[in-house]
Symmetry: C2
Subunit: 423 residues, 2 copies
């Protein structure tokens, strides 16, 4: 793990971080091939790729009964935890709901209609990493928005359904589920096939093939965001508990070798003790090998002179997760501009946000918190402007339209008001 | 112009419409080359391409004094119209401003911080099509959002600054303007050069090179949307004034040969009369050749049996602009799901929305109103989740985090709560 004490080093490190999310041209070529084949051949291509990658030839659609049946394998403790999480997630997201509005001026009505997207496709990763929490985080905001049709696509390697993913789907009442994964699932949702009806928007995380496919179909449909490897940045002063800091850094590092854990601290002592704690805690982790590689590649302890400077570093990195473990964490809040989610104080480890706090765990990565937001209800709403002008209102506006349209050389635009004026 | 009376024909027409926005692989190759050269060589590449495409070697930066000076060439009538439009646009967009919020549960604070994006680049087309209205529509929402740095890029063919674009920039108090256009301008804003500082988001319309470049840099920065050719769809019953309908269709058709004007009507009589009116009005248009080609390629009159059916057609096409010229236009509003902007009644010709009504004229095209929204203040805001949990709150949540993290095989995640519990 790198210890960084000067700005040149810091810039070099940030540059390295940003590169993590670059996709390889070779992957793009493969994904393009899959997309175009699914677009042309529909279900036939889905069946072919599912056989090739997931090694099964089961029907593409998973029947609600199968999901219900599979849910029975899940313990009550887990069902309770999923239900507890779902309720909290729903409650938070309900606050994000926006309503249509309009206002009147003399003889002019202006407004904004805010309505749910009609049909959404949610991708749920399967195989090695089956995450029921992803099901909750991606689908609940769509439900709160009022999306009428939610289709889920989940790969089932060797045909094996994940029982806890089923439990989450069952809990949310999702009936339309397909056992398709990878770029082919994204293609099916974007273009439609005989079995899978085209959607308007695709959400959900996935591997580099899924991410690349989503980027390529953007425009044909909307997508949530282009998710890269996970990150945490922790701002800590001398009051921070090094064991907590170390545990939280390791929780990101275990995700994958490209994940990134950064400590920014004003305390040399904390820096040293966190290092020791990481070395101690990492030993007992089942995923210690992944965590070690992640920390070696993208782990860093940045020692700064002041908490102000720490905030500057955080804003520049614009991390997905930002923990503040300082004596007065609230004081830093006005200074923190770019972060997917901010966790204040020592009793708010980031995994609380991953599962049960309520806010979404789908967050902008790789510095995109400069301009992207957490997944939310707003991602499942679309707006239409509303303009209604009466004859009086028209007369107040018309001459300005005439001037501006004429100025821009758009005579037919000007004519639309001229022809009405003469009536 | 096509007259469509059956569903097969309609489906064929919609397919043709959707294809308008497909970009050619050849353009993508050229744009990629420009992007990568600007990324590597910075200003040098900008200067090279500006010389090549815009035929000048003037400094990249346009000084505020040049803009102020150029504004003096603009008549008072035009300045007044721009000011009138700007005020109305600002007033409407102020309604879109959202505020940060948070709420408390026992010992848990949850919230959403809503803050402006730091630095935005606005592309303003130049040359043949210089639109001061575009300056107003793209920049005012960013200003309302509170964006601190707004950089504008505008091509100046042969070095010639457009005076009305300058007037609009001056009116809005914009000081940072570059005379760079095309894919090279997008590249400069996305990657940064010696002269142009990297932005967080790029907005604004442009030709196919600009649109392709924006699509390619998406992810590195955010973009507003991928704009295609303009569209209007008019729903009319027998009460509609055929001369108004024709004028409004022509106002789209004059934009370019790929623009699309569609009438959906329950009245065969209106259909016939609109055709006659178009033939009559088109003769006197300066852009009659463009309008003719547009109507020939993508113009259509769709005759339907009921207004319900008309709404279904509108929802499927999801037009950028949707006019309703029926006896009771408000009655259709609940049925209209997909449209960039809706114009109700015969006194609301679409150009009123282009210039002075208040809502944005940057709208989703090519059917993307299914999932995209008009450009708005929300496009210049980003959200961060806020989570703050105290010790009591932590104790209520911890065991569920433990269960779910363990279930997902993320032991280091579970450890973050375990280690705190033992404290």
């Amino acid at each position: 793990m790198l210890t960084i004490k000067d700005k040149t080093e810091l810039q070099r490190f940030i540059k390295k971080l940003r590169k993590r999310s670059t996709s390889e041209p070779e992957i793009e070529t493969n994904v393009k091939k899959i997309l175009s084949e699914v677009k042309k051949r529909g279900d036939k291509a889905l069946i072919k790729y599912t056989k090739l990658f997931d090694k099964h030839t089961l029907p593409l659609k998973i029947e609600p009964d199968e999901i219900k049946e599979k849910t029975k394998e899940v313990s009550k403790e887990i069902i309770d935890a999923l239900r507890f999480a779902a309720e909290r997630i729903r409650r938070f997201h309900e606050r994000q709901l926006e309503k249509s509005w309009q206002y009147e001026e003399e003889d002019i009505t202006l407004g904004q209609l805010i309505r749910p997207i009609e049909r959404v496709g949610a991708y749920v990763p399967g195989g090695k990493a089956s995450y029921p929490s992803t099901v909750l985080m991606n689908i609940i905001p769509a439900q709160v928005a009022g999306v009428r049709e939610i289709a889920v696509s989940v790969p089932t390697p060797h045909g094996e359904l994940n029982s806890t993913v089923c439990a989450a789907l069952h809990l949310l009442g999702i009936k339309e589920v397909y056992r398709v994964g990878g770029a082919q699932a994204v293609a099916a949702m974007a273009y439609g096939t005989e079995t899978i009806k085209k959607v308007d928007k695709i959400v959900g995380p996935g591997n580099i093939y899924v991410a690349t496919a989503k980027k390529l179909v953007f425009g044909e449909v909307d997508i949530d965001m282009i998710a890269g490897p996970s990150e945490i940045l922790i701002i800590a002063d001398s009051s921070a508990n090094p064991a907590f800091v170390a545990a939280d850094m390791l929780s990101q590092a275990e995700h994958d070798e490209m994940a990134c854990s950064i400590l920014v601290t004003t305390s040399e002592k904390v820096a040293l003790e966190v290092k020791k704690e990481i070395a101690r805690q990492i030993k007992s982790l089942p995923k210690s090998e992944i965590a070690k590689k992640s920390l070696k590649n993208f782990g860093a302890i940045i020692v700064v002179k002041s908490l102000n400077e720490a905030c500057d570093v955080a804003n520049e990195i614009a991390p997905e997760h930002l923990e503040v473990m300082t004596e007065k964490p609230d004081n830093l809040l006005p200074l923190l501009k770019n972060a997917g989610a901010i966790f204040l104080g020592q009793w708010t480890p980031e995994p609380i946000g991953d599962y049960v706090a309520g806010p979404n765990h789908t967050l902008p990565t790789s510095g995109t918190a400069r301009f992207f937001s957490p997944l939310g209800v707003y991602d499942f709403l679309k707006r239409s402007s509303l303009i209604k002008v009466g004859k009086e209102g028209f007369n107040r506006l018309a001459s300005y339209v005439d001037v501006l349209a004429t100025l821009e050389g758009l005579q037919a635009h000007a004519n639309t008001v001229k022809i009405r004026k003469t009536t």
